[in-house]
């Protein structure tokens, strides 16, 4: 059940789950043609947050922001748990900047299975705090985003295998159209310094503990 190959051949319980979820959420099966906004590099597709909110990818999540995005799925038992725990550390290092100055997003690689409800469970299980949205949507839209984010392999066999999915965290500053990445499995402080690098409001890219709050 770990590969999109199996899902897309339309066999097994996965397909049933897909139908059920689509019925319950009235999500369109696939956007007929993804909207590519003029000057932007990312399609402005519709996604759903783990909180059940409908959002436009570019307008609501990216435009003008410093962001960090990765791919995951709730059933992933190989790299996702470690990656998620690692990104949770990054979120802690970001402190109050998370969700205010730096926005973290995780896109599901198995949108048919990862309903907002399942992603909400995932958020609880990993104690993911505010300022980090888990996202799902129509398969075609997720696939399109995946390619625009550089989360693919040119070898189709590797590309369509969820088990070998990307471990990159796409990091960028949309205002400056400045994009790079960090591995989700490297040290949290390394990831933080890459985020701080593209965030022009930050001078020191290394982690610095917050100033102690004055009690006087």
């Amino acid at each position: 059940m770990n590969t999109r190959r199996k899902l897309l051949t339309g066999m097994g319980a996965a397909a049933c789950g897909l139908v059920a979820w689509q019925a319950s959420t009235r999500l369109p099966a696939a956007a007929p043609a993804a909207e590519v906004t003029g000057a932007t590099r990312f399609p402005n597709v519709t996604l759903y947050t783990h909180e059940g909110k409908q959002v436009k990818f570019y307008d609501d999540l990216i435009r003008g922001k410093v962001v960090a995005l990765n791919m995951m799925y709730a059933q992933c038992e190989r790299t996702c748990p470690t990656s998620t725990a690692n990104l949770r550390q990054v979120q802690k290092l970001l402190g109050e900047r998370a969700g205010r100055e730096v926005f973290m997003y995780s896109l599901s690689l198995q949108p048919e299975l990862d309903t907002p409800e399942r992603l909400r469970e995932y958020v609880k299980r990993y104690r993911i705090g505010p300022g980090w949205l888990l996202l799902t949507g129509a398969r075609a839209d997720i696939d399109l985003l995946r390619r625009h984010l550089g989360f693919f392999d040119v070898d189709p066999v590797v590309d369509f295998n969820d088990l070998s999915h990307t471990g990159m965290l796409r990091i960028g500053n949309d205002r400056l159209d400045r994009w790079t990445m960090a591995p989700t499995l490297t040290g949290p402080e390394q990831i933080l310094s890459t985020i701080n690098h593209v965030d022009t409001t930050v001078v020191h890219t290394a982690y610095r503990a917050p100033e102690p709050v004055s009690l006087g």
Partner: protein, 611 residues
Amino acid sequence: MKSSFLTGCSGKLRPYSGSLFLAKGGQPPAAAVQDAPAQASRRTFLKGGAALMAAPLLMTSQKSFAALPPSPPTVPWQAILPDEITLVYGAPLSPAPTEAANIANGEAGRPPHQRWSEFGPQAEPYELHIAQRDDWVFNPSYPPQRTWTYQAAEPDLNTLAPVVFAHYGHPILCRIYNDLPAEHVGFGTPDVSTHLHNLHTGSESDGFPGDYYSLTKAGPTLTGPGGFKDHLYSNIYAGYDELGNGMGDYREALGTLFYHDHTTDFTSANIVRGLIGFYLLFDHLDSGDEHDPTPGALRLPSHPYDYPLGFADRRFDPNGILYYDQVSPEGVLGDKIVVNGKIEPVLQVARRKYRLRLLNEGPSRFYQFYLVRPNNVIQPFTYIANDGNLLETPLLNQTSVRLGVAERADIVVDFSRYPVGTELYVVNRLTHLPDDTRQPYQVVAPGVRVLKIVVNREPPEQDVSQVPSTLRPLRPLPTTAQLAALPVRRFLFERRQNMWAINGQFIDINVPRAVIPQGSAEIWELTSIDDGWDHPIHIHFEEGRILSKVINGRSVAVPPHERGRKDVFVIEGRATTRVLMRFRDYKGKYVMHCHNLIHEDHAMMMRFDIV
């Protein structure tokens, strides 16, 4: 089955091209003419059942991404390269350089210079500015456009990076100002760290990837931002402490070095922007003076007949503007070869010997260069140095130079063999599959002409330069017993999670993956288990000697041009290369990384510390 499948789906095998080149329907553009056709794929793992399973997925793909369109056509042989390269000269610095970072006066927060008392006071001051300009012309067919450059305080606008001539025994204090705009929009970062590849220097002057700086930014391994940073290039040979002669071991001399941005995560983008230039190092043997009367001086062809040539693969968008894809995990394979900043330029030479110093600037393309007549008949030359290091003896009557990214070759060509008016071409016969940045493909004649050489004049004086039969001796290798007693470190270079890893780990600039006692010697075993990629592995700080090469399980002879000292080791396919390394004279943090800049920026780098 494999080939027919691949042929049938060739348009979809390159499913992504970046948003700039989204197809509006119709046929995908033709692949770059100089490269191999798409159906010649050798992705050997795409076999039988796997292909059949993947096929329906390709068919159901919702979108059609076109292959990256080729760069627009250029008119060749319009730009004339200068007869003499542009040099940069020393000049006093204000404020005066200091051992510790001069933070109060705007220097970035680096650690204090090592060996300051030995080299600092007498170091000759140099000044370089990293700047943006908007008027560079790669080719008359393309509009003037933005590049980033290294400039002297009073820039020569004919070059993107002036050449530094340095001499052993004469330290240089190079102050590098970062004048890039902080609010730069588009690919590249205006926070920079200049590495001098491959000087034997303190880590605080090495251009460590975490040491990037600007007025508004401090890299993770700096204590504070700054508009400039001082680099103490001591210009000593490795073996300085070991020999105690105040100079080091002249057998360790470096010759053809280059400086370039090395900022974590952004090296590829910033080099594509233009941040790369030459630094040539001379000594009593290779003195840079063909008239040198000193006994033993090699009297190789010297300036202006000593001419560095940097080759860079670049892609241009349909408007002729430099293109780079910031999010593609494969990078961008350039289909235009930029030579010293120009596409298809002309170098006019006198009828005499020239020393040409060839560098593959990357980001990803490999080359195999030949010198040919207009009828493609191959012309011989003499190969004298690899990776900037003179060989023990010249290799005569050579016909080709193969360069992985960051590899260098110094060759001597005797143009006195040709009458005035003779036209020659430097051609690249090494192809890549279309848009394949992973490894080169095949050597195919006649190749692509990247530089025209015209013998256009008699020399103003008799050519007194020479290529002696011995160049620079090598320190003898340790005995077999001594080698067997050395510690061995193994490094596995592999594909992992859509990126590339060393020993299963990705770059973490804060954590050394090896801690090495200063003064020690070790054997580093560099191994790749994937045949889908070539990795030109660069080890900072000291040169290595190749002890053995095993490719696909078979021991292969080390080719003659790789029997000297090297700083880039191309791991081709499934291979293991054993290298003798020494770590002398300095301490601190350094890196080893793949110099395919896409691999480097996708985490194939590790820090090592000398303690």
